[in-house]
């Protein structure tokens, strides 16, 4: 497959980027470009935000503000990211391909792409995460993922609230460099449980029924855990692709959700 691009512009201002983005439906912003080869539609102009310095991670008053152009490698090396919820975001990022790809891929590109195979969205959805756009302002990650068509806007920052709690992340993959067969994240924090399943192979979603059920429990016996697993399987839909069958994914999720609940409630 050959990528078709007519123009490539490193913009000098956000306004220039925004005007270019609106100028043509096929214009698009490039993150690291690591997954660009998967694009099927021709692009008139690729808009590169490199000169706008959106590549810092700033921690202030329990808020981690991550520039959209921060690479996955820089994210993985950040100590505050390593500390959040037993390091689940670190674990997820750390398992994306090799160091070279992580030096290219950006957090902004990983979010805006809404990739169904994403390992990044799964832990992010368990956290209090907002996205700051140039024109739309701030919206929650969950609301952004619920929109069918990505907004014609520029993602500037990912805003992550620092919280305390225990986390569990599992990426099931066949080889070290492969995409996930499925990925699972379980978090137990002050406000309750979060369970997110990704690479179903659809985009990551919350298992809300199981979360609500677990939040009403005071002990986490095997019976309670299996009831939560049944609610996950009832609510979340799975399907087959080249990597795995629907039934295999369901089995994996049953095992790893149970394991995750045990881990976050016992640690």
């Amino acid at each position: 497959m050959t990528l078709e691009v007519n123009n490539y512009v490193k913009v000098k201002s956000l306004q220039e980027a925004y005007e270019l983005l609106l100028a043509d439906d096929s214009n698009q912003i490039i993150g690291g470009g690591a997954w660009l080869k998967m694009a099927t539609k021709p692009v008139n102009t690729l808009i590169d935000l490199e000169l706008l310095k959106l590549d810092d991670i700033v921690v202030k008053q329990n808020i981690i503000t991550i520039g959209a152009n921060v690479t996955l490698r820089d994210l993985e090396k950040n100590k505050d990211i390593k500390e959040q919820f037993s390091g689940i975001l670190y674990e997820a990022v750390h398992q994306v391909m090799g160091v070279g790809v992580r030096n290219l891929a950006t957090i902004g590109g990983s979010i805006m792409g809404k990739f169904s195979f994403s390992d990044i969205l799964t832990p992010l959805l368990t956290m209090d995460v907002s996205l700051e756009f140039y024109k739309q302002g701030i919206i929650s990650l969950q609301d952004f993922l619920a929109t069918k068509k990505p907004p014609k806007d520029i993602l500037l920052h990912i805003i992550l609230k620092q919280e305390k709690g225990n986390g569990f992340f599992k990426k099931v993959r066949k080889t070290a460099l492969d995409f996930a067969v499925v990925n699972i994240c379980v978090v137990h924090k002050d406000s309750g449980f979060e369970i997110v399943i990704g690479a179903r192979p659809g985009i990551a979603v919350k298992a809300s029924k199981a979360m609500t059920f677990l939040n009403r429990q005071s002990n986490f016996s095997e019976q309670v855990i299996q009831s939560a697993v049944a609610l996950v399987q009832e609510e979340i839909s799975f399907s087959k692709n080249l990597r795995a069958s629907k039934e295999y994914r369901e089995q994996l999720v049953a095992v790893y959700v149970a394991r995750g609940i045990k881990e976050v409630t016992q640690s």
């Binding site: 690591a34 750390h94 391909m97 160091v99």
Partner: protein, 150 residues
């Protein structure tokens, strides 16, 4: 379009198309140590250093490299020669196709991580596939090279 880059310490101007990948551009301009493998970021044989960091050139648009510094194995000849001695001593290569990318990755590893552990070496090089050796010899060679470089 034209891009301006520094390759192995020399300033260069390359004529490219906006959709060209750096792997193709570098090979077009005779940096032939940069190899084509999977062409989809999986094998690592096209790895070069962009501003000192290893990246797969098969998935980096040449236009994105504009204004940046690129190092291929031709830019680190002494280190590559030393590393190849260690590879030879450990019987760590056969066809040699992955060696240039392995050398630039080891160069980046040495600069990024002080005294890397076995696991850190493995994790850093997980993106560099070798279909001849099985990695044990390479791992030993890289460890002894890094020891010698201290």
């Amino acid at each position: 379009m034209k891009i301006h880059v520094t390759v192995n310490g020399y300033k260069k101007a390359f004529d490219i198309e906006p959709s060209d990948y750096l792997l193709d551009t570098l090979r077009k301009y005779n940096y032939l140590s940069v190899k084509r493998g999977c062409d989809n970021t999986s094998c690592g044989v096209c790895t070069i250093l962009l501003d000192g960091k290893p990246v797969p050139s098969c998935s980096l648009l040449s236009a994105k490299a504009d204004g940046h510094s690129i190092i291929t194995v031709e830019g680190i000849p002494k280190e590559a020669e030393k590393l190849s001695e260690h590879f030879g001593h450990e019987g760590a290569d056969q066809c040699g196709y992955c060696n240039p990318s392995m050398a630039v990755n080891v160069h980046a590893l040495k600069n990024e991580i002080q005294n890397p552990t076995d696991d850190e070496i493995k994790e850093y090089l997980v993106g560099n596939l070798c279909r001849c050796t099985g990695y044990i010899g390479q791992h030993k060679a890289i460890k002894s090279y890094l020891e010698d470089e201290k």
